[in-house]
């Protein structure tokens, strides 16, 4: 498929695919406790993910090699191996959060207990990974995820005091009911949620899956730079809904069911149903992407054959890696751990791991051997370097803040 329709489809998929369990939960928690005073972090995170997703897509399109092959090539087996272990741990933790999120979202529309949904959700993810074509998988979950626009509709229907919301966004200040350390802890969590490392592995490997060439660069750039900001707008709408309805009632979000209450209040059962479809699709899409990312990183480091474009039997070890990741995720969830807590930890540990992912991409995007004439320009490098500094600071501060605030209590 080529032409305007393909461009539109790509953008819509990027919007729907932007949100995952980490974004949903973190934005709702933050909205219910801090209003929109942390919305600036979402804006910052969106710009960052745009810049680096574009860079990793470019590397994949120009060199035909995916990110982790190059990380290994440039950092050597030891440093890349340490990076692999950290990235895999965070990716599997994120996968756990997504499968938990799928179960919680399904529970909202059924009276079936969440722990019964978890293995079913993981099995469904595996079947899609086993059988469904990459593009079909991406487009279906992306387009259905677009129904999360329901949060923006709900915010509009709630008829909030827009001036107050704008003031919170543009003149952010720590709310009197919360401490400064907790504020910054959630700032880092939001950054981790928006810039989750798996998205970069997924984006570059997805470029190889879809056989991008230099010709596809313009399309990919458009998808990223238009689609992701709209995804960011939906993130802020989720926080806005929580800020308008839950914050005044003293409700601090600690469950998926609370996230949808403002939607029900604004639009009744119909809008609620639309949004629940969106929650299920967004978490399913992200579960697929994280499971694939686990397979991608391991296979690329070890030189195995990988990719959904191959027959499963021709990328056997890649499929084994994804199955193991799914089994681990379900195993963790079946211990009875709260999926929302898992999600909150996953975004903070994502923040810790961010520099590990983003530094090598910046280095490779400047390597003329891989990139030829497509090496980064000065502006892209300046922005990339600036973000790297921010990410290093956030990464270093994440764990101390977690200890001081008792994980945002």
């Amino acid at each position: 498929m080529r032409g305007p329709l393909a461009v539109a489809l790509g953008i819509l998929t990027a919007i729907g695919g932007f949100l995952d369990a980490g974004d949903l939960v973190t934005n709702a928690v933050v909205g219910s406790r801090f209003g929109l005073t942390l919305a600036w972090v979402v804006v910052m995170g969106v710009i960052g993910i745009c810049v680096f997703a574009h860079m990793s897509g470019k590397v994949a399109a120009v060199s035909g090699r995916a990110t982790f092959e190059i990380i290994r090539e440039r950092l050597g087996p030891r440093a890349a191996g340490a990076n692999l272990v950290a990235s895999l741990a965070v990716t599997v933790l994120t996968l756990t959060a997504e499968i938990g999120g799928m179960a919680l979202a399904l529970q909202l529309a059924s009276s079936v207990e969440r722990r019964l949904w978890m293995p079913v959700a993981a099995l469904a993810v595996w079947l899609v990974l086993w059988r469904v074509r990459f593009q079909v998988m991406e487009n279906v979950t992306g387009l259905l995820g677009l129904t999360l626009i329901g949060f923006a509709v709900a915010l509009y229907l709630l008829g909030p005091d827009w001036g107050e919301l704008a003031r919170q966004t543009l003149q952010p200040a720590v709310p009197p009911s919360e401490g400064a350390a907790v504020y910054w802890y959630f700032a880092i969590a939001l950054l981790g949620a928006a810039m989750t490392p798996y998205e970069v592995f997924f984006f570059s490997s997805g470029g190889v899956e879809e056989r991008w060439t230099v010709k596809d660069l313009a399309t990919s750039r458009l998808n990223v730079f238009v689609g992701f900001p709209f995804g960011g707008v939906l993130s802020i709408a989720i926080a806005g809904c929580a800020a308008v309805v839950l914050l005044p009632l003293g409700i601090e979000v600690d469950a998926m069911s609370q996230i949808v209450l403002p939607v029900a209040q604004a639009g009744g059962p119909l809008l609620l149903a639309v949004v629940i479809v969106g929650l299920v699709s967004a978490t399913t899409g992200a579960a697929l992407e994280t499971a694939l990312s686990a397979g991608y990183t391991l296979s690329q480091y070890l030189g195995w054959s990988w990719g959904k474009f191959r027959r499963p039997a021709e990328a056997a070890r890649f499929h084994v890696a994804m199955i193991v990741a799914l089994v681990v995720a379900v195993g963790v969830l079946m211990t009875g751990v709260d999926p929302i807590a898992v999600t909150e930890y996953s975004v903070v540990f994502s923040a810790v791991a961010l520099p590990l992912t983003y530094l090598p991409i910046l280095v490779v995007a400047n390597d003329p051997e891989y990139m030829g004439e497509h090496v980064n320009g000065r502006v892209l490098n300046a922005v990339g370097t600036l973000y790297l500094v921010i990410l290093v600071v956030a990464s270093a501060a994440a764990v101390p803040l977690m200890i001081v605030t008792e994980a945002g209590a």
């Binding site: 059988r131 074509r133 474009f309 027959r311 039997a313």
Partner: protein, 138 residues
């Protein structure tokens, strides 16, 4: 091991930095299928039979005789990984070095892919859909 003179399969006169251009590179077979990564290199004296293992004198000009694949992090706990546990790909199969190392033969013939082949034949071919081509129209 950094700069060995390489025999030149098809690019006469090209000198390649072994560390920069060979180590940790993805190896692709004649169809572009991944085979392994280059975990180490086997060196030998110019003109020697590559299949005979002989100690090298300090001033001998060496060439790469094979790409090695196998446990790469054995050195972390001390000592070098056991060379017998590594898989050899003789240098004569190498046709090109770009952003990946290209071979002129099928990946199936190398021992480096045995786990992949074993899983393929013993496990994955027997699960329904294991041989289904995801790109084919349903």
């Amino acid at each position: 091991m950094s700069t060995g003179l390489l025999p030149e399969p098809d690019q006469p006169g090209r000198v390649v930095d072994a560390e920069l251009h060979l180590l940790d590179r993805q190896v692709l077979d004649v169809d572009g299928e991944p085979v392994c990564t280059v975990d180490d290199l086997e060196l030998g004296a110019v003109g020697d039979d590559p299949d005979i293992d002989r100690p090298l004198a300090g001033d001998t000009t060496v060439v790469v005789t094979a790409l090695l694949s196998g446990p790469v992090l054995g050195g972390v706990v001390g000592g070098r990984p056991d060379s017998s546990r590594r898989h050899r790909i003789a240098w004569r199969y190498v046709t090109d070095i770009g952003t990946a190392v290209h071979l002129g033969a099928h990946g199936e013939q190398f021992s480096a892919t045995w786990v992949e082949r074993w899983l393929r034949e013993r496990v994955f071919s027997r699960i329904p859909g294991g041989r289904h081509d995801p790109e084919a129209d349903e």
